[in-house]
Amino acid sequence: MVESKDLKGLAKVERYYNDYGVRTKELKANGKKIIGYVSALGPVEVLTAAGVVPFRLKGNVDEAITKGDAYMETIVCPFVRNVFDAAIKGRFDFMDGMVLPHLCDSLDRTSDVWRDYLNLPYFHFFNVPHVTDEPSIEFMKEILKLLISTLEDYTGNKITIDSLRQAILLHNENRRLMRSLYDLRKNNPPLISGTEMMKVLVAIMGIPVEESNELIKEIIEEVRSRKPSLDRQKKRIMLIGDQIDSVAITEAIEGSGAYLVMDDISIGSKMYYQDVDEEKEPILALAERYLRKLKIPTTFVDTGGTYQENLNARFGHMRKYIEEFDVDGVILLVYKYCDPYGFEVPAIKSYIEEIGVPVLYLEDEYSTSSLARMKTRIEAFLEMIA
């Protein structure tokens, strides 16, 4: 069998995507500690500084939940259920621990379930607040310090200001590289397809940041050297949602005759479009990035100004992406039982439609079982905007 190290660029991505966790297992065999995380709240910098490998968990949209329902109610978001099902079936046996963030009720209210049934040597519920005012920043610093101390206790390694700075530089570099790769989608037609991009996003979320940086450089080089095709007629689509981590949906979009050119999803641009301030004290800089810069529906944003100003603060980045990536239509995919996204559907939809860009809102499960129905809706949408 070909070793991961013998592959390069997109070939390596293919390998990492198809056998998710393959590289993590190799690292584990070499004595590395693997700590799982599940959302854009990471926080990857702290894990990197702790000397562990941050490994983002994903489920499998092709697989039915067979064991998880015995532990977790079906009113929990389908992504969380699917990932938990995979975990309880032993899919992530190589994992030494987990940081579960306070993202939403589906995670918060099941944190005991994750902790008690996976029984990992390390587990921490990272209680990120939903508010962003000054007291919240102070509080966020405290809970970052608490996370750091639990990781130190577990690994026996001190996390120093220097190691945090180092990790921040590496992850900022990672984000800068990813944004360069995203830039290659601005071409018409884009130089990298939405499906390829999805595979990249997944592949790099399971490997150490240094390896990720090398891999992205290879991909950029490979993609840049491509000759663009001449088909400029297809509509350019942006995908918005939370935990979308499979090519099933990108293939459904691109298979219906569109280009998927941008995303605002949790494993995608949400991870890569906001840097940590390198000039500031690292814990404060991390608190500010995760609380104020990151654009996720679980942080409450209110400018104190008009409603329109609030909308700009919450969703302005979406309009910016639409403009920069020349987007013709938006697909907003929200999972059933997701309160954070569910409650903002009307606001997002009207905010985008106001600038003349149509939005297709789809409510779905984290599963390919409903893919045919979705595909029909996507096709109808594309026909409508053609």
């Binding site: 009113i75 306070h102 918060d108 008690d116 921490h124 607040p129 919240s136 679980t298 059933k336 409650f343």
Partner: protein, 444 residues
């Protein structure tokens, strides 16, 4: 909580008074508009009640109004209205019910919606939400509401408590949590000052906070009388009698209500009056919000000789001395300590029993104190907050305590389409048989 379509016999006079309370709270919002007082949309267990009372802001409780709509089986029009603007049916139905109502009011361009159940809620002047461990809708609901009430300012504060972790000592964290909660309450005061144009009267707030402490105490004193056999009041009533604590905290009426309830229960005990005669089985309502449209099910339990002398749901307080609150002259800090300790005061016990959880310790404590023979949960599909994690609590209870019979009912708080009476009654019948067998086993 309200006069539900299907009549349910109320065992206490106090509970029979509740519809008046609920109606009064709704009417107060409408009256406030006429009197030029400010109305705030508010959400329960956010810790902001006393601030509102001290500043003469009239709270309009969405959860209460949605509960009334549900009890009157008149929520569907609002749920559908919200759905028409792409709010999923899987979201919290308290929220979608009131958002639907708001949408209709805005379309009509009125302050008061005609033919709304019990007059509905008045258009608010502000919205006070709170982010916390309790639920996402507590901050998403205000934000989603503002989409339709664009000129209405929104405040979302925070009221977190340290999450339980058997390996961490929460006492180390309490201080910075309380500091954070206190400062967020201060932000709330600032927001209210700005939007009422009035300054907070701190002495008045201190008095109100003291009154709330007394209300927490008398509430528990009254509820603990339910330990009597037969129990003089059960959960069917408690789903009503929770109203003053939940929606009127910080008012003299709330205190007086529980004083009267206390006296009434004393009297019943003296006369030996119970909810069911004979009382054959004592159950605990261990978690979950009820189906407001099917409160008659409690009566169905009663008809089988089963009563609920205790419940976790809406027992949103504790005897103050048991919380061992640090002394402070700052009423906001006192509120913060009260709430943080309310949630954490079962932690030490849970840490002592390996594999246990604070929520489970609370259930065990009640089972023992109230001599219960069975455990009932309700899983409402549209609220993850109280209902995700019930399976785990039930399993943990069996593991760390004993093989007590457990029933998990399924339905919703507002959405009646999830409910099937015949199925529910069949499940209750089977459960009662299991409880009976358990009692016999325990006797042997």
């Amino acid at each position: 909580m309200a006069e539900e379509k299907k009549g349910r016999a109320l065992a206490t006079k106090a509970a029979a008074n509740i519809p008046k309370f609920v109606r009064g709270n709704l009417a107060a919002t409408i009256k406030a508009k006429q009197e030029g007082k400010k109305v705030a949309y508010a959400y329960i267990a956010d810790g902001q009640d006393e601030i509102m009372r001290a500043m003469d802001i009239v709270p309009a409780w969405g959860e209460s109004f949605a509960g009334v709509c549900a009890a009157k089986r008149d929520a569907e029009k609002y749920l559908q209205k919200a759905e028409s603007d792409n709010f999923s049916r899987s979201l919290c139905t308290y929220a979608t019910c009131t958002i639907g109502f708001d949408m209709i009011r805005e379309e009509m361009g009125v302050d008061v919606v005609p033919d709304a159940p019990w007059g509905g809620m008045a258009r608010p002047d502000m919205i006070l939400g709170s982010a916390q461990l309790l639920c996402d809708p507590r901050f998403k609901w205000p934000q989603a509401t503002q989409h339709y009430l664009r000129d209405v300012p929104v405040f979302v504060g925070a009221m977190y408590y340290p999450p339980f972790d058997p390996k961490l000592n929460h006492h180390d964290q309490e201080k910075f949590y309380v500091k954070y909660c206190t400062e967020e309450l201060r932000e709330c005061v600032r927001f209210c000052e700005k939007h009422t144009g009035k300054k907070m009267d701190w002495d008045r707030l201190a008095e109100i906070v003291e009154l709330s402490d007394k209300t927490w105490d008398i509430f528990i004193d009254a509820y603990e009388l339910r330990k009597a056999i037969p129990t003089p009041m059960d959960t069917g009533d408690a789903m009503n009698t929770m109203v003053p604590l939940t929606f009127n905290l910080g008012t003299q009426e709330a205190y007086d209500f529980y004083k009267e309830l206390y006296d009434e229960l004393k009297e019943k005990i003296k006369k030996g009056e119970g909810v069911a005669s004979p009382e054959k089985y004592r159950l605990i309502w261990a978690g979950g919000l009820p189906s407001w449209f099917a409160l008659g099910d409690f009566q169905y339990f009663n008809s089988k000789g089963a009563t609920f002398p205790v419940e976790v749901t809406y027992r949103g307080c504790e005897k103050i001395e048991r919380l061992e609150l640090p002394k402070t002259n700052d009423p906001l800090e006192h509120i913060a300590w009260r709430w943080v300790r309310y949630w954490t005061h079962w932690y030490d016990k849970a840490r002592k029993r390996p594999g246990s959880l604070p929520k489970v310790e609370r259930i065990i404590e009640y089972i023992e104190d109230y001599k219960c023979d069975g455990v009932v949960f309700h899983s409402a599909f549209s609220c993850r907050s109280w209902h995700a994690g019930i399976i785990h609590q039930a399993e943990t209870l069996k593991k760390v305590y004993r093989e007590i019979p457990i029933l998990i009912l399924e339905g919703d708080i507002v959405d009646i389409s999830s409910y099937n009476e015949a199925d529910t009654h069949n499940r209750i019948d089977a459960f009662i048989e299991a409880v009976d067998a358990y009692k016999q086993r325990m006797r042997r």
